[in-house]
Symmetry: D4
Subunit: 165 residues, 8 copies
């Protein structure tokens, strides 16, 4: 079973991170939520990342805001792909979070998604895991079809409402 | 053998993208370079992305600058993970590229690396492919050790040069 | 009769895009609203743009937010002028939308208006169509006079309110 | 014959604006270059814009940098479409130019292209004039094909150079 | 009697501009409010500025938002000092307004105050007029003393509230 | 007893600065609050800073917003370390405050903390004073342990809530 | 004779400030250059500003970069108008300088010109002094005519060069 | 003897960090240079910071660019004050470095100086250490006097050069 640990720097990130977890569960992924801080519990963060691969974690999603060091700090201790989810901060809508996560030095990448792009963090994790768990590929295809159908339905709804005018 | 297509919007991106290709080759990855534009050859882009998985492509790396639509446009046609490499443009050092790549709508993620982070795009691809090609994991671990050793050597060099003062 | 298709990436853009449609109708333009996503229904977007000119569409207005690829993606498939309307996103008030729309590569322009400038998108479309539908020119002149008169009336109102003080 | 006046705030803008003029000439457009300042020759600017339509001007392209008022000031005096070309300034790569041109008030749009996007200003003008001068449509289609062919040729060149490695 | 015309682009700017007017009145300045648009009533704007000096206007304060051309457009037609008051817009808190006003070309300055700095626009006007109306100098000195006294009183209040803790 | 003067430019900064004061008191530090303006009471500011060291002040914390000159102005008159606390302004979330405080000229540093980082200003002051007052070191260590324990407790809470699902 | 003191924070600002001085001399203004730092010689700065009016200074121009406190610090000590000239720094082209100068608190305005707008600082000073020294008004009018004539000459030059093509 | 460890993420930071070291030596401080990466040698970073206080380090200065995690990561492991020196990166002149260092979460402050403000990092360290090593206070006072004298000399030089004109 595919397994993702979703790490957040603070429990207060749950309104955003909760959407990541929900989306992962839609895909049948085993999710382990974790509150862990790069600055307040650095040793726990290091230990978790160091052992993640052998503990069966497939992908790590790390959400953080402001000087958002968590994804990068985890990436320092593992060769697993780390997905960084910048949380919208109270400063320039999370420009600080985005830059602190994306602008990693050469050799230690973080796969960054958009600010507060909680669902995209989950979908990217599923795309990555589809190499190992081939059933995920079909689920992704189906999601793509569902998305298209929703757009098509919206298109009809908008067009109908204008005909009625 | 792991296989990555490295797509660039213009041949002029080669000074950056060439580093991505070189790094992938260091890992023994088969690399297919491709020049393809979201706006000038959109049908070729769509066709490539639509067939990439069945053509044995494992990961797509797409480099683009300014209104950097290429990674997102490719992501629309495949469930493979797309790594977006923002090219430094002549406007605010590529802030336009970074935002055009990272801020994708929900459902269609792009794994964004830093501006001009050519090597990180390659390493992230290798991390992702390490699920399928287990030999890559060891190579990643070795690269991590090499990086650490270089830092340790730099530290010695700097300290020695100060002792000599 | 002049004809504009107003494409939006999501039905949620209607509060802004609705003003574009209303303004176009004031000018007697036939408006076709359309929900269509560059990333979720890319083939529908391509097909629409490819056939727009022969289907009698005069101008396409495309509204999009965040990594706002829709106007550029449509522009890839047609030689019709595309007006890009950046939607105010939750990130830096739509700086991402503005740059993703305006900073198009050479050869594939998008006529960009201001962030959330819904009425200006409509008026620009009317200005463009006034070449083909000469009655629009007079309507534009009248609109300019109306705008001036409203400013003059405001000026009187403000001056009067101060005299009363 | 289609006719475009290309207005620039200063002769020093010619290195950029010259590319606009060249591109227009490729399309067989009659180009009138004009140096005219919103702040130094405001009356000339006003008079030009007021009479442009009856003088047979089809589209106005206005290039300006920094507090780039020229396109907006011209738009105040005409119902012709104004294409605004933000010139890269010495401040934040022309962010000032871009915002001063794009963020026009409701009722007076300027069709903004990217910073220093000289060729796109020309192509957008041609797209707009293709309503009146139908031969331009074919030229635009041909340009699109040429651009695609150049990308395809680049793709071959890049692939060949890698085979040789 | 010193005389200032306070021009605003739209009546909707009154919540900010009203504070400018009130502050000017505190100094005994004759204030003429004016609604006038650089883009909607450009001829009225030009005529006003051209005649302002001979009509006895001492200083012009011009408030505008977004692509805030009004102060610069007025400056084109007069040698009077123009104070530009950038109005906080819905885009990046008025960064567009600030840059459109401050970044004027050489030869045509606008004395820019901070975003929404309504009172400072008034005080700067009074400082400028103090050359001509010497009674204003004393009023300015008194205002400075009042401000200092208010800070000293606040300091006492804060210190007292802490002693009580 | 360690002693910190917490200077704010305006009493309206108290909602933020109050948290600095509270945090300092938690550490048993003597706090003197002060309202003092670099621009409205510059002589009081200068006199305070000039005499601070001999008056037994160990560290000065200065909070200011917008063109936040207060910390730098105080730094001009003393060799004590000045901690600058940028207050979130109504312009770009305090980017103005942050830059006005951090970007000091060579020779006159201000120790800048994050925008509205009230508690961090206090903790940094305590870290600095721990050289002189060794009991503070243990309190800092305990605070670090408490922070870690809170994160660990949050982690348990989040994990438990998921088990219950 | 009109008199302006041009204060700069560092002698290294002379390449920019020199243009301010030259422009002032063109208008026959007596110029006193002054190197004075808000942070390194704060008492000299205060004393200068405090006595400037009675020493016959009409306007103060203060140039500064980065955390550009100098204009604001001088404004604290005088009721004379202070013109702030933001010097282009090595950080974001002087965004720090611009915001540190423009965003002054209520009650203490600085008349800000554009980044590195050395000539505009001078011209604004002349405009302000034209109240007191009426001969300056005619010089300003003549400068406006000269500027217009230069634009007209450029226009002819550009048009001629195109006819020759 | 006061002791500062100056940590840099990469030997390539030496052109900036070298100025920090030189300035510290001017004050007679013992400097230990160290190359250490938050992401490439995280365990060495942690171990260094954990033991720094007992190893006699008084202050840590950490220089880093881009996603500049190093100062924050060190701060996680020690209660010593950490001075963060943002290195100018190739992206927006180090806005990424500045925000990654300054915007630390509550509880783990970093004393941030300006971008590339190498000397200020040193001087701030000396100010902090002056509590413990009282001879530093006099050296700081002397440096302040020297700086003032240099400004006064510059002022004379500038004034003399103008008299000669």
């Amino acid at each position: 079973m595919p397994k993702v640990t979703v790490v957040m720097g603070s429990q207060s990130d749950m309104p955003v991170v909760g959407k990541t977890i929900d989306k992962l569960k839609e895909f049948g992924v085993e999710v382990v939520p974790m509150v862990c801080s790069a600055h307040r519990t650095p040793e726990i963060a290091a230990q978790f990342a160091r052992n993640a691969r052998e503990n069966g974690v497939d992908v790590i999603i790390a959400a953080a805001g402001k000087a958002a060091h968590l994804p990068g700090v985890l990436a320092a201790f593992t060769t697993l792909p780390i997905i960084g989810l910048p949380i919208k901060s109270s400063f320039m809508d999370g420009l600080d979070s985005l830059l602190s996560i994306a602008q990693m030095p050469s050799g230690v990448p973080v796969a960054t998604v958009g600010v507060n792009a909680a669902e995209n963090a989950a979908i990217l994790a599923v795309q990555i895991m589809s190499f190992k768990y081939s059933e995920l590929e079909e689920k992704l295809s189906n999601m793509k079809k569902d998305m298209a159908n929703k757009v098509i339905a919206s298109d009809k709804a908008v067009k109908n409402s204008f005909v009625k005018d």
